[in-house]
């Protein structure tokens, strides 16, 4: 099966662009599985956060998935297009990465 991930990319100050990638998957695989495969097969510069991979313990992979705030590690890949974007209410770092660290745990306080 094939999923299409339409990913909003770019850094602060740039006009956001949407890039689409096709990724093969088996039923049950997560959006995070798809993103990790994309880095190996298509574009290693694609930025997204994750730490625990599969356990939904670290909560770092939160992003906008088809317009809804969700975890990339628990939403399953599906056939057809899935739209991915950074969290809308957090400062953008790059691509799907936003500033989600508590302010007192950052080196440089950002807005």
């Amino acid at each position: 099966m094939k999923a299409t991930l339409a990913i909003q990319r770019g850094a602060p100050g740039e006009v956001p662009r949407v890039e689409s990638f096709e990724v093969a998957f088996e039923p049950g695989q997560s959006v995070l599985d798809g993103l990790r495969a994309l880095r190996c097969e298509a574009d290693p510069s694609l930025a997204f956060r994750f730490s625990c991979i599969n356990a939904n313990a670290c909560k770092e992979c939160m992003m906008l998935i088809d317009g809804k705030v969700d975890y990339a590690c628990t939403v399953r890949l599906k056939e057809g297009v899935t739209a991915l974007a950074p969290l809308p209410k957090k400062a953008l770092v790059r691509d799907l990465v936003t500033e989600i660290a508590p302010p007192d745990e950052r080196l440089l306080p950002r807005q």
Partner: protein, 574 residues
């Protein structure tokens, strides 16, 4: 601005008494104890504070002789730990773990971790290899998150600890062979940062991220071992990688850690079946003189049993064993695991209807940084704690000792690092950070080879050739592959962007992972016997002549050196 674009400007600089690298259970505990002893502390993590690492992933057992469930003494816990370690434990470290464990668990209890209770006492479960119920836990499968949460709450209350997430340590800074701080990459900005510290604690966890299937966070590629080696410290027992026998294999399960099945087995006695739907653990139980024939196969033997069944053509369709709870009534499963049953249902799994498939998965590293009984490495000012430490668990770790070790070694390393900082002045010089700064500044924008694919390939190589069952041919081939990849990444970092650059992170990871992979494969090749987690198909069985530790260090010309030493005996004061 990138480190690359920032060539002329001075990097951001931070000064502290104690720098703790890694904010899992061991790092957080080290920071708390160092601050309690009066030191200023920087607690740095490449991920978010308290979210990455292994502690947060732990689901169940924390072993300590609390004597709440049944009479116990830490000497009994020590006897079990030493027996499981198959002759290779550093007895000083194992004794520290077992003696101080109950104090740390009670301190955590006071910090409202929420240990499961029954009839007014902390409930302790029986786990394989322990002679009595000794393992505390937090329901349901929440031990790790609860421990992390309790430690994070203490960090918030404590003064003198500066927490910095998203900071990847590139190298320990050295002045005349003394650790004096570190050089780091600030991930969101891509800028280099220097840190001056009178003492440095490595609390970066293990190396299971080197393997394709693993139960750890993505950032567990063994960074701390590489930092320690390049700083001049020694590593011990690196050939002993623990595989967790019943990691989840199929059907695909999201939102849960693959090691989740062990507590189900402890509580409910799930049955391990081969393709013939026959229980097979008994067939292997006789290999262990400590076995009583029930569910007591230690992890090394259970991994062996499942792998052998698969090789004999009796594996499950996905290449593992079946784990079945079908003999149990639904109500019993529900009462033991409450909300977890619903999370399984969301994944299409109904334990009353069919078994799941499980297989060995890289889980923990017995080896690690060689330290003395004050958790100090061979490098003055450099300490290690938690899973990053080698020696306490010998050739095989008992279930339940990992979180205990994180808390105990964290506390001890933090305390001793603070003491060192109080007795020594700063040895920082800008020169000490120069090599790592030059490395970061030399990064070049490149899109080939694909660094993410190289990381994937290295994990496959380690799983296939340096997994639980090894041969000379496989290990030779692994070393050749590691050498090839090392030359492929070269000495100039790849980069792709200024902010949050995953290509630069992958390159820096590969620099560490390839060195650490080699430091596992080299002693694995040398050890021509099978002991605990190190099983050589071409050298089956224990060889008494090999009751020695192997120690790895970097020589002056950056080659790995291997030597042997008798296991340390004697006791450390807790």
């Amino acid at each position: 601005m990138t480190a690359q674009a920032n060539k002329g400007a001075a990097p951001a600089h931070i000064e502290t008494d104690v720098l703790v690298i890694g904010a899992g259970g061991a790092g957080m505990y080290a920071a708390l104890e160092a601050a309690k002893a009066g030191a200023s502390v920087v607690l740095a993590d490449r991920s978010l504070i308290g979210r990455g690492g292994a502690t947060v992933m732990a689901q169940m057992t924390v072993a300590a002789a609390l004597a709440e469930q049944t009479p116990d003494h830490w000497e009994h816990h020590l006897a079990d730990t030493l027996a499981a370690g198959r002759g290779l434990c550093d007895e000083r470290l194992a004794a520290l773990l077992c003696e101080d464990g109950p104090h740390r668990l009670r301190e955590m209890d006071g910090w409202k971790v929420g240990w499961a209770r029954e009839d007014g006492h902390i409930k302790q479960a029986q786990a394989p290899g322990h002679d009595r119920p000794r393992c505390a836990y937090v329901d349901f499968l929440s031990t790790g998150p609860a421990v992390s949460r309790a430690l994070r709450a203490q960090l918030n209350l404590s003064r003198g600890i500066r927490r910095i997430g998203e900071l990847m340590i590139v190298d320990i800074a050295l002045h005349d062979g003394v650790a004096c701080g570190a050089t780091a990459l600030h991930l969101p900005s891509g800028e280099a940062v220097t840190l001056a510290a009178k003492a440095v604690v490595i609390a970066t966890g293990g190396l299971t991220g080197l393997y394709r299937r693993n139960s750890a966070s993505s950032n567990m590629g063994g960074d701390g071992y590489a930092l320690a080696l390049r700083a001049g410290a020694e590593l011990i027992d690196m050939e002993f990688v623990q595989f967790f026998p019943i990691g989840h294999l199929a059907p695909r399960l999201v939102g849960m850690d693959p090691i989740m099945w062990d507590p189900f087995r402890y509580k409910l006695g799930g049955k391990l079946l081969n393709a013939e739907m026959r229980e097979f653990e008994q067939d292997y139980a006789t290999l262990d003189t400590r076995s009583d024939g029930r569910y007591v196969l230690t992890r090394d033997l259970a991994t062996y049993a499942i792998t052998r069944e698969v090789e004999a053509g009796r594996g499950s369709p996905a290449g593992g064993a079946y784990l079945s709870f079908q003999h149990l009534p639904e109500a019993e499963i529900r009462s033991a695991f409450g909300p977890v049953v619903d999370r399984l249902a969301a994944n299409g799994i109904d334990l009353t209807k069919r078994p799941v498939e499980v297989a060995p998965i890289a889980h923990y590293h017995m080896g690690g940084v060689r330290v003395d009984d004050t958790l100090r490495t061979a490098v003055p000012g450099l300490y290690a704690s938690g899973e990053a430490v080698g020696g306490a668990n010998g050739a095989n770790r008992l279930s339940g000792n990992a979180i205990t070790e994180a808390l105990v070694f964290g506390a001890s390393a933090g305390r001793n690092a603070a003491r060192h900082a109080q007795r020594n002045s700063s040895r920082w010089s800008a020169q000490a950070a120069r090599p790592a700064l030059d490395l970061l500044r030399s990064a070049e924008r490149r899109d080939a080879p694909n660094a993410a694919a190289l990381v994937r390939d290295l994990k496959a190589l380690m799983a296939d050739q340096v997994g639980p069952f090894r041969t000379e041919a496989k290990l030779q081939s692994a070393l050749a592959g590691i050498a090839r990849m090392t030359s492929e990444i070269g000495e100039v970092p790849f980069s792709s962007a200024s902010a949050f650059d995953p290509v630069l992170v992958d390159w820096l990871d590969l620099r560490n992972m390839l060195l650490v992979a080699q430091s596992v494969a080299v002693p694995a090749l040398a050890r021509t016997e099978s002991r605990g987690a190190h099983q050589r198909e071409d050298h089956p069985g224990l060889d008494d002549g090999w009751c020695v530790n192997q120690i790895v260090a970097l020589s002056g010309d950056s080659a790995l050196e291997l030597r042997r030493a008798a296991p340390s005996s004697g006791r450390a004061a807790a």
